[in-house]
Amino acid sequence: MIVLPILAPLLFAIVSLVGWSKPAYQRVVGIVGAVALNGVTLSVFAQVRAGGIQVAQVGNWPAPFGITLAVDLFGAVMLQVSALVALTVAIFSLSGIDDSRVKFGFYPLFFVLLMGVNGAFTTGDLFNLYVWFEVMLMASFVLIALGGERAQIEGAVKYVILNLLSSTLFLSAIGLLYNLTGTLNMADLALRMPEVQPAGEVTLIAVLFLIAFGIKSAIFPLFFWLPASYHTPPVVITALFSGLLTKVGVFALTRVFTLLFITDFAITQPILLVLAGLTMVVGVLGAAVQTDFRRLLSFHIISQIGYLLMGLGLGSAGALAGVVFFMVHVILAKTALFLVAGLVERLQGSFDLKKLGGLASSRPWLALIFLIPALSLAGLPPLSGFFAKLVLVQAGLELRSFLVTGAALGVSLLTFYSMTKVWNEVFWKDRKSGMPALRRAPVSMWVAVISLAAISLLAGLAAGPLVDVSLAAGIQLADPAAYISAVMGGIGGAP
């Protein structure tokens, strides 16, 4: 059952490959595939919610020997949210991506990317995680360069080089860990880690993992590839990347630091918290000086990663619940903002804040739709960002980490400043006389933007059930015993 989130995108990648040079066919396949994926992830989520951690042993090899697939509640939530992102992006790309890019394989790559992402959320094996990362990266490499404009190629060069470096470090960390423990199954590793000697080497490997996943998730000193590349491809691709890629990095960090490296948490905790604070602050300050819509949002991605890292660094069940909730919130809000930016570009022909203006009077509904994810990102009640930050700040205060909590609150204020800047420039400011006439945007773009904003709004208004799920997921993450017994206990069981 839990193999399906990997198999479904693979199937639709093949189906869309069949009609290589038929854009209309591929666009339909894109929608159908995304809807089917949502069905699959919804049933996986229901299963995990009702029956606890779901495990499948690939090829029926018992746990530490074969490749294990395991979906806990966090993984199921991530699967579901990324399927939602995929659906809205598929709707938006009906007219948001040009025919020539479709003919060069946008949709097959889209599904391969989803396969890699879902694989990373599903796997219970460290080397298998590396393979899924590579699947995801290869698809993203091609997607970011698709079309071959100069800025895209330059952005792709930076993106590819730094991500390959990160993969290399990840692989070395896996090698060193295997050398110490003789296993790569995450649950088995979690069992053996406490007894591993010498403990110093474990810390070294932990730092290697932190750097490798840190590059991928764009944390403080390692984020420079992100603002240099994310704004270059068409906005659909940026929206997809911002919703999925860095979040997979954070997911992997969370897995590794809640399951494997928990014995020396006293050493890693201050490192994680300092990095979290710096990531938040530097990201939001970087955004403050930007005048390009997409670059501004790219810097906000970094700043939001800081919050996720903060929850991970705090490490209590409450804080990890905050990570889960914040992840849902930020994926929805961020993707919605990028899609709004794409819609604005379609209407007024630019991403440059200075060349935009007057949309509040000419397109009041769009202004309202922008405000939902924007204010949610800033953390205003009753939107999802408020509750996400509330859970994190509460955990921070309980653990008496006042500095990082204060940083989180201050950065919220700066995020709000940044969002009001966009609001002023794009919507509130009067139209200048020299601006080109407003163009019409296709219905599919509106549908995508409205539905994603509505989902984001719903995540805030119906925060109760979502908090329940996050708390359950946080408790699962904080106590790895359930995960270990689910994976290791099922020896010989049917997949």
Binding site: F104, M138, I153, I174
Partner: protein, 132 residues
């Protein structure tokens, strides 16, 4: 033998990282290749049992392999890693060649269009072969 491999891997890591810090695209590519080899050697070494002449097979008439046997897992890992790095390298070569064609330079310092928007006339028309 283990020591020799370890030193070689370390040397490759150092050389690879040094090359990655260069500005020329080709040298960065060489750096990536060297790093890939370094990691493969590291994985090869990581089994902690570099034993010659003792395959992980169960001999006839016995019920378990020899107590000290070669660990097959790192070799499976290396094989996978080699295949992946082959694909990735092929893509990187094409991308860097394309970058050279589009920008007319192989110096990373000259690639600033992502930070400062390039003047319009600098942007070359879309090449139909641009997308890989």
């Amino acid at each position: 033998m283990t020591l020799l491999l370890a030193i070689t891997a370390g040397g490759l890591f150092a050389a690879g990282l040094y090359m990655m810090l260069r500005r020329s695209l080709v040298k960065i590519l060489v750096g990536l290749l060297l790093l890939g080899y370094a990691v493969n050697l590291l994985l090869f070494n990581s089994g902690s049992r570099l034993v010659p002449g003792s395959p992980p097979l169960i001999r006839e008439g016995e019920s378990a392999p020899a107590l000290i046997h070669a660990d097959p897992v790192p070799q499976a890992l290396i094989l996978t890693a080699i295949v992946i790095s082959f694909g990735v390298t092929a893509f990187a070569v094409v991308l860097l060649r394309q970058a050279y064609q589009v920008t007319g330079t192989d110096d990373l310092n000259e690639m600033r269009c992502t930070d400062i928007p390039c003047p319009e006339e600098d942007i070359l028309p879309d090449d139909p072969e641009a997308a890989p």
